[in-house]
Amino acid sequence: MNNIVALTTDDIKQIAHLARIGLDEAAIEPLRDDLTTVLSLVEQLNAIDTAGVEPMAHPGNAELRLRDDVVSEENRRDALQAPAPDVEQGYFLVPRVIE
């Protein structure tokens, strides 16, 4: 149970890219070490024998509350689009996305 996960510099770059976070080169190494430490901390959970314990997807005892299938929202486009940087003919405009 001692597989300490050691993150590589490439792992950090990949995670940053997927999360669209810009990182200075200088920040990568300290971040790699910090995250590796966090992972080792979590790794301790693997030492616990969980045979026979039901998998848990969510902490706490809460269950989902459901709502009836009813339309309860009105059209508030003007208000909701007011903070948007660019709007035309009811559309939100973004820089061109090419498939």
């Binding site: 929202e73 508030r76 909701l80």
Partner: protein, 479 residues
């Protein structure tokens, strides 16, 4: 070398709820851009998703219809990726614990044989918005009306071995989701979408080949053509010493080909994790029995009942039940009537469905409803009119409001069953065609249909065909 094709399908069925999966915004199609996108759909800070109960019961309905495992504690997860039509930066979906587990359907293939196709899972998720690329210069327009529309993604096992089987399965699921009223099945509007995972392997090999995923298949015809093209492409590559790359490909209907969508490949790391905003979705037995109680009779059971109770052939029964509205119409037509149910089945699948196709109408909008058709079929059965005349009457009924009886009366279409009247017409035809009579009597029996036609014409189609045939034969024989 001979090759075997292996296909699995992922079907996205838009659930026919009034409101969205996590918000109270309307799901109606075709509204002005962003008029049905509320703060939750827009992913504004501070909002929380609340699950729509209608979505849950529809998923359970699908599970019951496919003999599938129902997960008592399922979980929503975040699928993380960046795209402008996904405002939150993640799609709420299900990963480890989907609401519907393993199930199966039995599909009828075009050659009437049956094949079981296993379903791996079906999970709930929200749809994304729409990007519009051709409306604005240098910019993309985003309409988030569709964002948050509930989807059931139905994932099959790689159980299909040809494009034909894949289409049969897709049609089966398409009919089923409409039958149980969970999806309108409108493929043009994107309510029912297919992705196909396609690979080939040398016949007899146990391991699967490398697969390509084909997207953008919005009709059954495109599904079939895209798979056929892709299978050819993969075989060509393998036979010329190349390998198949695992990738996403887009079907281009105009060029009838699939092409690589390399831009999306590197993003295939979605970093799923349970959505902390949504605790487990717990379904108890009481909920399941409520859904079960409200389930309509499924096509298979209904077809068997039609064969048993109404003596339809299995083929006729399958055609009639393939669409729930058609099966309802059929039952309404035959209710309490004396004519054989087969007559109703023939008319519904023939004359009526032909007419509906011509006018591009659904059976619910048929201008001739079940009661009116019932009366028409009664008039065939009691001998008032022949089947052929009935078709004329049907056309008149379709374009107006008159009943079959009104039209028969007004147009004088009542069948001639008076033996002496038919005899008189036959005598005239025989007298007018001496040479044909001679030929017939010399053995050219094919000419009978010539005489039948001539007498029918003289009677304006109203002579009773059975009587006409009998009397004509007798008269021609005796010369």
């Amino acid at each position: 070398m001979s090759w075997e094709t292996v296909i699995g399908l992922e079907i996205h069925a838009q659930l026919a709820t009034r409101s969205k999966i996590f918000s109270g915004a309307s799901t109606a199609f075709g509204a002005e851009p962003n008029t049905q996108a509320c703060a939750v759909d827009l992913g504004l800070p501070g909002v929380l998703p609340v699950v729509n109960a209608g979505v849950v019961s529809m998923a359970v309905r699908f599970a019951l219809a496919t003999d599938a495992f129902i997960t008592k504690r399922s979980q929503f997860a975040r699928k993380n990726y960046f795209y402008p039509d996904l405002p939150k930066g993640y799609q709420i979906s299900q990963m480890a614990l989907p609401i519907v587990g393993e199930g199966s359907v039995t599909v009828t293939l075009p050659d009437e044989s049956e094949k079981q196709i296993n379903i791996t899972r079906a999970h709930l998720e929200e749809d994304a918005g729409k990007s519009v690329h051709d409306l604005f210069d240098e910019r993309t327009g985003i309409d988030l009306n569709r964002a948050g529309t509930p989807l059931l993604e139905i994932v099959s096992e790689p159980d299909m071995r040809s494009a034909v089987e894949a289409v049969a399965y897709a049609r089966h699921i398409h009919a089923l989701v409409r039958y149980i009223d969970i999806c309108d099945g409108n493929m043009q509007e994107g309510s029912f979408r297919c992705d196909a995972n396609v690979s080939v392997r040398p016949s007899g090999q146990a391991e699967f080949g490398t697969r390509a995923e084909i997207k953008n298949l919005n009709s059954f015809r495109f599904l079939e053509r895209a798979i056929d093209f892709e299978v050819e492409r993969q075989i060509d590559r393998l036979e010329s010493g190349h390998s198949v790359v695992q990738e996403t490909r887009l079907y281009d209907a105009d060029k009838d080909e699939t092409r690589s969508m390399r831009s999306k490949e590197e993003a295939n790391d979605y970093r799923y994790f349970p959505d902390p905003d949504l605790p487990p979705l717990v379904i108890d037995e009481a909920f399941i029995s409520d859904v079960k109680a409200a389930m309509p009779e499924l096509p298979k059971a209904r077809s068997a009942r039609f064969v048993n109770d109404f003596k339809l052939t299995p083929a006729d029964a399958n055609t009639v039940v393939s669409d729930r509205a058609t099966a309802d119409y059929f039952e309404a037509v035959i209710k309490g009537q004396k004519f054989p149910a087969k007559l109703a089945a023939n008319w519904i699948t023939g004359e009526l469905s032909g007419r509906l196709n011509k006018d591009n109408l659904a059976i619910a909008d048929a201008s001739v409803g079940p009661e009116r058709l019932s009366l028409l079929l009664t008039r065939i059965e009691d001998g008032t009119i022949s089947g052929k005349i009935a078709k004329q009457v049907f056309e008149d009924m379709w374009s107006g409001k008159d009943s079959a009886d009104d039209i028969i009366e007004k147009k004088g279409l009542k069948q001639i069953t008076d033996t002496s009247a038919i005899e008189a017409m036959i005598d005239e035809v025989i007298a007018a065609n001496p040479s044909q009579v001679a030929e017939y009597q010399a053995g050219k029996e094919k000419l009978l249909s010539f005489f039948v036609g001539a007498v029918m014409k003289a009677s304006k189609g109203k002579a009773n065909p059975g009587q006409l045939n009998q009397i004509l034969r007798d008269k021609l024989k005796s010369g």
